[in-house]
Amino acid sequence: MINGLKKWRLFTLMTALIFFLAGCGREEISTLIPAGGVAQDQFNLLLLSSAVMLFVIIVVTIVYVLAITKFRRSKLGEEMIPEQVEGSTKLEFLWTAIPIVLIIIIAIPTVYQTFDLADTRTMDVEAEDGSMTNLTVNVIAKLYWWEFEYPEQGIVTAQELVVPTDQRVYFNVVSADVKHSFWIPSIGGKIDANPENTNTFYLTFNQESSELEDGVFYGKCAELCGPSHALMDFKVKTMNSNDFDQWVASMKEEQTPPSDALAQTGEELFGADGLGCIGCHAVSGVGAGNVMAGPNLATFGDRNRVAGILEHNEENLKAWIKEPQDFKPGNQMPDVKSLNGGQDVSEQDLDALAAYLMTLTVEQ
């Protein structure tokens, strides 16, 4: 018996250790390490409800353990017939009333927060100089990538959301095809991207992403949207408002043409006279959302990942261009062979394309 108890203790210890080692997940994506106001509110609700539920669990556990240890047949004997109790009105009242009280404790912050998180009164409010007091980003979800349009600034980007810290950022979320869901776990809870209507909500970003190990927060699609639903990732860069303003300014500037010969070849290939990539992918940050069929590549060189999932290097970029279906099954990017008159694109051409794309940058 004592031996058995020791084993159990060891088991509990091991379990605790595993949790300790695994911690609370990664700060880029865990809801348990909130880096935004909304996520913080939601985390507080998690703590509150967990505390209340822990109380419930403790009460049930005490009654449960006593009941199944005290009244075992091995103790009471085969023949013993217990008293056939019908019930107790007092007890019924007690375990109806106490849960109601517990629920009221949870219900009040629930209602408050539900309305608070849906509060869009400061959206579209103009400051004295005619600019908006809050940034608004239009999020357009597409099979399997994300487009971010900044309507007031007149710029558009894809796959990597760039936002200023310490202010409300409003999002208009919509889908261009099937239903998706826009989720940045460490910043705040999700909202669906429906095909038939635009959903609006806000998030605040409290931490600059440059402090993170990977340099970006991770965003996810949270609604099953097809084979590559699991791969419909995006990244979030947060920076202070000065840096953000500078980023917006450089997004509006024209890209400096590549100086390097290889990249110049790449630019030609990218253009209408080459493979025609530019038919779907704009390389200028200026523009509106939901116009081009493919992601805007103006910030490609600054990105953290290729296609949202692969490590950001030329090898992966070339592999992606060659066989996008290998990496994201069902994505809409055409087979590069079909753009090249049915022939494989040569390694040199791929090198050139990759070199060119890596020069597309707005950050210094």
Binding site: F19, C24, G25, R26, E28, I29, L32, Q42, L45, S50, V56, V60, V63, Y64, L66, K70, F71, R73, G77, I81, V85, E86, G87, S88, L91, W95, T96, P99, I100, I103, I106, A107, Q113, T114, D116, L117, S175, D177, V178, K179, W183, P185, S186, G189, K190, I191, D192, E196, N199, Y218, A222, L224, C225, G226, P227, H229, A230, L231, D233, P329
Partner: protein, 627 residues
């Protein structure tokens, strides 16, 4: 059919089961086919856990994973959990109320065969171009975009099996309202009968919205309508509403009978009357009622607005109250009892902490702003598996042990049963407990793979190991069933020794007419009352021994269901433009309506068991039915 103790060959036995309208045989059919689908769904579950065992695994491709995941959910809910519960309802409920059969034995058979052909049709998709791949919720925008015929198999298969379930639900309602033995008032009905009653009412009210939604889907995909086509002015959120107006009560259709089974078990194995019977009954009714008020809590992130979200959040929280009442009443039933830890009781005792865990995470998700984080993450996967596996599946396993002797006249091995319990119970917690944390760490659900270095690797590996334990548990249960069937040690009326309700007062298995004389019920736990008063027969009778009118077997339900099965192929391939599709559709429907016509025009008056046969039979049963 007047000869009762008829010996017959294998073929004749199979034919007898196929055409049977006897609730006990239909129950066995439900158990076999539900069990088969449970194994298929289980294999799909194992494939999911193998795929997610490590980051970037390539055991399943992206598209295949979505098919496996969709079919796992659909199979487990519609083709395994519900039919298995319907099986136990069929086997036990008429016995508990002292009836000779359900109100409409023919419809009972039809209900089974519709479910069966629907399930087969759905699973044929694996061999005919691909299974459905839009999740068991089949959200409309993705479902309409899906290119294979999988979604069509889903829509048509569930239409057919849904009719079957609806028919069964109506049948049980009528049975419980009309066929209770004299003295069996509503407030003397065993809890399992009560939960069957409420679950049947939920089936009656919840399945029509699903049928409507699926009809829209069938017409959008096969006949060119635009209910959900956004480009043509349709709206996909209508699907979500209709689906969840069905889908949430569906959860209670599953869990209420599970509550009923555990209520029986707690009373039997604590050798004690259920504590707070009245409260348990009213809690059941309340849960059923509120079940219809909360569907939008599955849609908090859809953008319904704060008012709707707040109302549905509060409504959802209220359900915790009657559920808590149940938990405490069960605990107090055990309290002061004389508790035997036989296998069914082990499951019941394991159910309490599992279900409490599933319940508290349910309340957490009712907090709408918190649910914005939890929704569609692995947290919800953990939550509903705690409720469905920790509640429904444990109940099904418990009922398998509890009622096996009543259904088959022989006891499953207690030793193997306990091994199954521990393997399954430990495996279940190992698999799903950790998934709560995966969700909180940002892992979305329904992902076919996940990247390394997101902090999810270890927990996914642990979860997959847990699944192996669950699989081992199920395999040992199958071994148990085979060994028990081979051994075939016969048992008496009340093999657990502490039966309280009418089903334990008659032989195991009961004769095909159940009760030679209709019993007279003098209170809750009828059999217990008679036993305690020293009544050796275990019953007193409401009528003298006389002839019994019984229904004839019929093959028509099989034909009727088969007609719809054939017609579905016509509908399914209609959009492909083959010339044979409309004729097949028409032929199938002709088979169905033709057999309905035949059934209506041909009088089937049944047959009588004569008094003398009953007396002979009773003596026969007495000699070889008791220990």
């Amino acid at each position: 059919m007047s000869s009762i103790a008829k010996k017959s060959g294998f073929g004749a036995t199979v034919w007898d089961y196929i055409t049977s309208v006897d609730h006990k045989k239909i129950a066995i059919l439900y158990l076999i086919s539900g069990g088969l689908f449970f194994l298929i769904g289980g294999i799909e579950a194992m494939m999911i856990r193998i795929q997610l065992m490590k980051a970037g695994n390539d055991f399943l491709s992206a598209g295949t994973y979505n098919e496996v995941m969709t079919m796992h959910g659909t199979t487990m809910i519609f083709l395994a959990a519900m039919p298995l519960l319907l099986g136990f309802m069929n086997a036990i409920m008429p016995l508990q109320i002292g009836a000779r059969d359900v109100a409409f034995p023919f419809l009972n058979s039809l209900g089974f065969w519709l479910f069966f052909f629907g399930g087969i049709f759905l699973n044929l998709s694996w061999f005919l171009g691909g299974a459905p791949d839009a999740g068991w919720t089949n959200y409309a925008s993705l479902a309409l975009a899906s290119e294979s015929h999988g979604i069509d198999f889903y829509a048509l298969g569930l239409t057919i099996s849904g009719f079957g379930t609806l028919i069964s639900g109506i049948n049980f309602l009528v049975t419980i309202i009309n066929m209770r033995a004299p003295g069996m008032t509503y407030m003397r009905m065993p809890l399992f009968t009560w939960t069957t009653f409420v679950a049947s009412a939920l089936i009656l009210l919840a399945f029509p919205p699903l049928t409507i939604a699926i009809f829209f889907m069938v017409f959008d995909r096969m006949f060119g309508s635009h209910f959900f086509d956004v480009a043509a002015g349709g709206n996909t959120i209508i699907w979500e509403h209709l689906f969840w107006i069905f889908g949430h009560p569906e959860v209670y259709i599953l869990i209420l009978p599970a509550f009923g089974i555990f209520s029986e078990i707690f009373a039997i194995f604590s050798r004690k009357r259920l504590f707070g019977y009245t409260a348990l009954v009213f809690a059941t009714i309340l849960i059923g009622f509120y079940g219809f008020m909360v569907w939008a809590h599955h849609m908090f992130t859809v953008g319904l607005g704060p008012t709707a979200n707040a109302i549905f959040a509060l409504a959802t929280m209220i359900i915790a109250v009657p559920t808590g009442v149940k938990i405490f009443n069960w605990l107090l039933t055990v309290w002061g009892g004389n508790v035997s830890f036989a296998t069914p009781m082990l499951y019941a005792v394991g159910f309490i902490p599992s279900f409490v865990a599933g319940g508290v995470t349910g309340v957490m998700q009712a907090i709408a702003p918190l649910d914005y984080q939890l929704h569609d993450s692995y947290f919800i996967v953990a939550h509903f598996h705690y409720v469905i596996v920790g509640g429904v599946v444990l109940a099904i396993f418990a009922a398998t042990h509890l009622y096996w002797p009543k259904m088959f006249g022989t006891m499953l091995s207690e030793k193997l049963g306990k091994i199954t319990f521990w393997l399954f119970f430990i495996g279940f917690h190992l698999t799903f407990f950790i998934q709560h944390f995966l969700g909180l760490m940002g892992m979305p659900r329904r992902v076919y793979t996940f990247g390394a270095n997101q902090g999810w690797d270890l927990f996914n590996a642990i979860s997959s190991v847990g699944a192996i334990f669950m699989a081992l548990g199920v395999i040992i249960m199958l071994v148990n069933i085979v060994l028990t069937t081979i051994k075939n040690e016969r048992v008496g009326n009340d093999p657990w020794g502490d039966g309280r309700t009418l089903e334990w007062a008659i032989p195991s298995p009961p004769p095909f007419y159940n009760f030679a004389q209709t019993p007279l019920v003098r209170g809750l736990d009828t059999y217990w009352i008679e036993k305690m008063e020293g009544n050796k027969e275990g019953m007193i009778y409401a009528e003298p021994l006389g002839d019994i009118h019984m229904p004839n077997n019929s093959f028509i339900p099989v034909v009727m269901s088969f007609g719809l099965f054939v017609a579905s192929f016509g509908a399914l391939y209609h959009p492909d433009g083959y010339s044979w599709t409309i004729p097949v559709l028409v032929i199938g429907l002709l088979i169905t309506f033709g057999s309905m016509l035949l059934r209506s025009l041909k009088d089937d008056l049944g047959f009588h068991i004569h008094k003398e046969d009953l007396i002979k039979d009773r003596e026969g049963v007495k000699t070889d039915g008791h220990k």
